[in-house]
Symmetry: C2
């Protein structure tokens, strides 16, 4: 067979890997590359100036008296009747000056601490979908059993570095206390960084209390030691609702990172043009960031970007589009201009785990990581514009995240890797399979995928002609079958259960 390009060789047998699923080791991912700049410096400045004008002239609505009090005390111009708050540029600049450029998340297991900021990047489990799906059982309401399994996958996959309180919404549990069950599950089934909810200050305090119990510490010990984090979504245009305003303040007061993320669908929540969407996103994010610094100067905070477009045909949101990728890179430029840690997402709008889900996620991932994102939310499992958590998508995304991680591994160029001597030993038209240089490095030379199948057509057909999605189905089942919970002291486990029971009772009395 010809060895010109396109000639796939038959390979040396279809030797398969034995033992547990071979995946990348746990690691702090770092991005060695200079981000892609989709905006010129002048354009970044123009967008920043437009955002300052929005903050000064139009203002942002905060639906919380506590937030309005803080903002007024900090020097913002507060219009009590409407809840509108206007910020002069001095206040914005003063607040930006105290934001830490980077910080470290302390999870249950210190060995899985995560740096956020600089060249570090972290990847999280999906959060928020009301539905869940897999190839066997189809699309169904979110429920606690599926939630637990998604957590187990999040724990098992090394490339998923933080886990979420609502990988899927457990709709079968009481709405007002289900977060407690989820918090307990995170802290017993996983030992990774804790992503909680900030809908109201109480849930923030509960999260901190429970992380402290799981770590054998007191809540006070976690002050200014980031141990929980949560997204504060802006209800774009220009509104932060009451519970999230108070959650944001509670996070900041405890020195815990808020991830301030306007949700800017161009043509719906913002004007239809990307420049305007970026200016509005920037203004909204800055407003939230100012409030964190007024609540506690120096509180960690993350600049969140989530700007995409709607479908021109139906008005439905679209994700992982070209506009989304550009917005993701542009937001990174805006965040870096003020040395703010930057959050993006692994989004897509596909209804099934197919080629569309893969290419839209890839647009999102390249947009995020070549945009210098430090935190990738919804990293694994998000499908259907975030309405659905998919088990197969968790595995597909883990493969994509591993691919991107390996892509970000710097290239070694030295005498050893340039291998002139190895080339001397192989004549024109020869091959390097058996050379000492190859044999010494063969096992670890290349990335070994968890999902890609590179067998020839005949072997693939003999194995059942399975698509990547069907293979992903087998992978998550295998991961669940092999799952083992990380060790947790029995006393702490019981203390967590007792805390949850007590708090459920208190919430019950409150609701009654």
């Amino acid at each position: 067979m010809s060895r010109r390009e396109g000639g796939r060789r038959s390979g040396r047998g279809a030797q398969r890997q034995a033992g547990g699923l071979q995946q990348l080791p746990w690691q702090q991912v770092r991005n060695p590359y200079k981000p892609v700049e989709v905006l010129s410096e002048d354009q970044v400045e123009a967008i920043h100036q437009a955002a300052l004008r929005i903050l000064e002239e139009l203002g942002i609505e905060f639906m919380s008296d506590r937030a309005l009090d803080r903002l007024a005390a900090g020097g913002a111009e507060v219009e009590r009747a409407s809840g509108l708050v206007r910020f002069d540029r001095g206040l914005v600049e003063q607040s930006l000056a105290t934001v830490p450029e980077r910080f470290t998340m302390t999870p249950r297991n210190d060995a899985k601490a995560l740096e956020i900021g600089g060249d570090a990047a972290i990847f999280g489990l999906v959060n928020g979908p009301p539905f869940v799906t897999d190839l066997d059982r189809g699309r169904r309401d979110g429920n606690f059993a599926d939630y637990l399994n998604l957590l187990r996958l999040g724990q098992s996959l090394n490339i998923v570095q933080y886990v979420t309180h609502q990988a899927v919404a457990p709709m079968d549990l009481p709405a007002d206390t289900r977060f407690l069950d989820c918090y307990e599950a995170i802290l017993t089934l996983t030992d990774k960084a804790f992503y909680g909810t900030a809908v109201g200050a109480e849930r923030v305090v509960d999260a901190l209390e429970m992380v402290a119990i799981a770590r054998g510490e007191r809540r006070e010990d976690l002050l200014d030691r980031p141990s929980i984090f949560s997204v504060i979504n802006v209800n774009s245009p220009r509104r932060i609702d009451g519970p999230l305003s108070e959650g944001l303040i509670a996070l900041a007061e405890h020195g815990q990172p808020a991830v301030v993320t306007p949700f800017c669908l161009m043509g719906a929540m913002t004007p239809v043009t990307l420049a305007a969407a970026l200016a509005q996103q920037h203004a909204e994010a800055l407003a939230g960031i100012v409030l964190t610094q007024l609540a506690r100067p120096g509180a960690p905070v993350v600049y969140g970007g989530f700007t995409s477009n709607v479908d021109l045909r139906s008005g439905a949101p679209a994700f992982g589009t070209p506009e989304y990728a550009k917005a993701s890179m542009a937001a990174g430029q805006l965040a870096r201009r003020f040395r703010l840690p930057y959050r993006s997402s692994n989004a897509n709008a596909s209804t099934s785990v197919d080629a569309q889900a893969a290419y839209e996620s890839m647009m999102s991932l390249w947009g995020a990581l070549m945009g210098g994102a430090n935190m990738l939310h919804h990293g694994a499992g998000w499908l259907e514009g975030g309405l659905v958590a998919s088990f197969e998508k968790v595995v597909l995304d883990a493969e994509l995240l591993q691919n991107m991680t390996e892509f970000m591994k710097p290239i070694a160029v030295d005498q050893d890797s340039l291998a002139f001597e190895a080339m001397q030993d192989v004549g024109p038209g020869g091959h390097f399979f058996g050379t000492a240089h190859t044999l010494e490095r063969y096992e670890t030379a290349f990335y070994a995928p968890i999902l890609s199948d590179w067998r020839n057509f005949e072997s693939w057909q003999e194995a059942g002609s399975k698509t990547a999605t069907e293979r992903a189905n087998a992978v998550w089942k295998r991961l669940l079958a092999e799952y083992e919970p990380p060790p947790l002291d029995q006393g702490r486990r019981e203390a967590l259960a007792a805390y949850v029971a007590r708090r459920k009772e208190e919430y019950g009395r409150l609701a009654a």
Copy 2:
């Protein structure tokens, strides 16, 4: 329904687009972004120096006396017995000095001229597979009927900018003259830039003769006006075979671009390390480039990169891997260092048009375009490591290429796009659907996909729960149904047929 992120809104009805397939217009794609640099300047230099050492000390084998004559006359050190040619760095530098930085391909239709080099990027149809596949008929031997349909798709899709003499190999035609049938098909079914074969000088001359006939010109008129191009693959390690050596010389002598592309599978055709593979690729490409400049100083030539890795488990080639993406960007750096136009590919190793095909292609595309590629070979339709041309993959790839093209559309930032006045009109929590600013721009504000389906789950389910691949099947059938050949003067058409008939007879006498 909540408008926090992840809340997909039901949209404004499932209004579908009417009329012909809406696709991006024909265009010269330009990449406004600075390429990603995966190598430091020092590393680029170290790899270049390693390549010069390979050229000086180890040499490249040319299996053609004509090539050896040219190289010896040009000052290379030729070892007649082995065919090994050693190049000193002076010869390399002298040759690089005469390579044009950019040039323009003249196709049958002047309106579809293509710039190659600088910030321009062009995308081509797949070339070379012996097999063809689609969802209806499955995988089968390449044949002329399928070849013609692939050409029709290449003509119909604006984002496919050049067409290829072997989108699939027509195995049902006589091997020695099938290229003539393919040339004739290209020149009658399409009017786009002509990619031919350079296996021997005669096929190059035939291509030029036929393009001249189709344009109503003489072959001499096309001298130094690039009208045909072809890849010259190096049989790595360090060998260029006889017919391709002579094809390369013929291309150069006529001032037509050769695309010199070593096929470097790490661990097989090169050492297992990326640095060595890049050094070897660079040496091999430079050797071919030197020969073009000795054949005709100033001849257009393209630096081709095609470095990937083998599967550690089976030895099978892998494409669209993290290593592949890095190699693609690194090769771009090496090419740009010498102001050479750079060619990369849209490769993948998937056996079906599934999520793997999509994410591997995306790794390849991002690697190529963020690596500054000027020419993307195998842009649409390549599957299974190049063994198969897939009809559904043509459509999937057209979607990916359109996505990347839109991603490369610069962001406008001005008073109009910053839309401060539009924001004034919409209060906190409101929406921009009905504003004048939105309505004026709505139709053209965002990229409209040809394959992505953004309908909600219920609408998608009602439409048959089709995956992207199944939808791609419907798209190519529609394109074929709507296909119309570009106008061609009847006299030229007949002259082409007569030329082919005469040449077949001559080849027949030659074979007899």
